[in-house]
Amino acid sequence: MDIHELKSVCTQVRRDIIVMTNKAGAGHPGGSLSITETLVALYFDVMRGIDPKDDKNPNRDRFVLSKGHAAPGLYGTLCERGFFGREEFDHFRQLHGILQGHPDMKKCPGVDASTGSLGQGISIAVGMALGAKHTGNPCHVYTIIGDGESDEGLVWEASMAAAHYKLDNLTVILDHNGMQIDGTNDQVMSLGDVRAKFEAFGYDLIEVADGNDMEQVLKALHTPACPGKPRFILMHTLKGKGVSYMEGQVGWHGKAPNNEQAAQALKELEG
């Protein structure tokens, strides 16, 4: 798939995010829109062994959405990748639906880990990478964490373990949009020098100036692993990217667009 096609998939995933959150009247559009390029790059270009017909292939690369509330972004991506049809969006956050409010590996095809309790996904990803090393599985494990999520101590415990066990089969991606529920990172709990902190924990760190630019995202994700070190990609993103009234707005963290707002967003997202 060339870069134009990947960008076009991103637009479609953004439309999916708007459609499903609007239908459900709930969900987290802001932090889903900020990671759309990363998700599409992973599932359509970077990850190996991804096959909707064989989603349990033991050697497939794994993905853990540690910031599990960005489920609409993941669901849109999995849907466009062929894991299920768009009709499932009608049941997003509904009783008996496969698209639970937060990703459920037991219910949704293509989901490698159940997440939602912040901090846990990165630790689970560390366990997957460690388990892969232990069993000789050649897979690579990717996880996206949030900057708000990085308030959780577990993010740092997991990072320490990733470096200790030299997990060069692990890539941790930070969706650094600068915002969380109660305000900006700096208002709620400052991350300080986020780059220096994660580097100090022993990662091989790559910084991406615009995490919503597909070229930059692909370049970072395709950078060969540094032997003996886990990879960290500090991805600067824009919360609500692609929908004018959501961009850079804290208030669109966990709020669904109403019909009028959804119509406007879909108009803006016409490929």
């Binding site: 630790s123 689970i124 366990g127 997957m128 997991a158």
Partner: protein
């Protein structure tokens, strides 16, 4: 004529935590998918034996119990069977990871949590788990074992590896008598002594002390039945109902808070099933404290004499 005691002491003593460590080595020889995780307590949880035997299959996660549990969750998705080992008191500290990381997706992770109860002794109340069973019981899909001696610990560890899903094994620091090995079936209680006047339901290393109580009761003309459960969940409802109906007077004895543990498990089984005299003997909604194990058992009403007295007074 009194009813005979159906357990035979071997004359040896061993803490169930020690047996847990040895059982892991045995299991490790049989099943190469078994890996052991620790949080810098391998010397206390006795998993250092496994670490010596299989250094490549032992992972220390540092003093980070929450991380240990989620790392185990991740490893289990790669086909491994991780046994997480730490103190039972830390079940609360990594509870969200046990709940959301392991139980919610029903992953194949085992928890060998040791040093439960006040018999931990000198380290005191900050380290004496009195609530771990309550925490574990409410988790859907969790199997809970509380072995009463070394042999039962082996059986619980072996059974845990065969169960596809989360299993919690509660062990103790205090050495306790080893009884001759008996047949083991997950979810089945064991009648230790039959009786007609009352029944005592117990679990774990309280077996030793309830046995003493039963003998004291017999000297006082009370023919008490004694039933010991190595599995708290799934619970042996049929046996519980049978003995409660037969004896009418029901006592539960546990080295755990009387809130949420064995006593409440039995209470929930009996509720609506008849009229019984019922008393929960255990830690009465207080924390533990430092002391010698024997002194602590007496303080909390859990030594043989105290148990017998509470039964006689009921």
């Amino acid at each position: 004529m009194s009813n005979e005691i159906r357990v035979t002491p071997t004359g040896e003593k061993e803490a169930t935590r020690v047996a847990y460590g040895k059982a892991l080595v045995k299991l490790g020889e049989q099943n190469d998918k078994v890996v052991v995780l620790d949080a810098d307590l391998a010397a206390a949880t006795m998993t250092n034996a496994f670490r010596s035997a299989f250094p490549q299959r032992h992972y220390d996660c540092g003093i980070a119990e929450a991380d240990m549990v989620d790392i185990a969750a991740g490893m289990s998705t790669m086909g491994l069977i991780p046994f997480c080992s730490t103190f039972a008191v830390f079940a609360g500290r990594c509870y969200d990871q046990i709940r959301n990381g392991v139980c919610y997706p029903h992953l194949n992770v085992k928890f060998g949590f040791s040093h439960a109860g006040v018999t931990l002794g000198e380290d005191g109340g900050s380290h004496q788990a009195i609530e771990d069973l309550a925490l574990m019981r409410v988790l859907p899909g969790m199997t809970i074992f509380v072995p009463s001696d070394a042999n039962e610990t082996y059986q619980c560890v072996e059974a845990a590896a065969k169960i596809d899903g989360p299993v919690f094994i509660r062990t103790a620091r205090l050495p306790s008598p080893i009884y001759e090995s008996r047949p083991f079936e997950v979810g089945k209680g064991r009648v230790v002594k039959d009786g007609k006047d009352c029944v005592i339901f117990t679990c774990g290393i309280m077996l030793e002390h309830t046995l003493e109580a039963v003998k004291l009761l017999e000297e006082n003309g009370v023919d008490a039945a004694l039933v010991c459960f190595h599995t708290i969940k799934p619970f042996d409802v049929a046996l519980t109902l049978e003995y409660a109906a037969k004896c009418g007077k029901v006592f539960t004895v546990e080295e755990h808070s009387v809130i949420g543990g064995l006593g409440d498990t039995v209470a929930s089984v009996l509720c609506g099933k008849g009229s019984f005299t019922f008393k929960k003997i255990g830690i009465q909604d207080r924390f533990g404290q430092s002391g010698k194990p024997a002194a602590l058992l007496k303080e909390y009403g859990l030594d043989g004499a105290s148990i017998a007295q509470q039964v006689l007074e009921a």
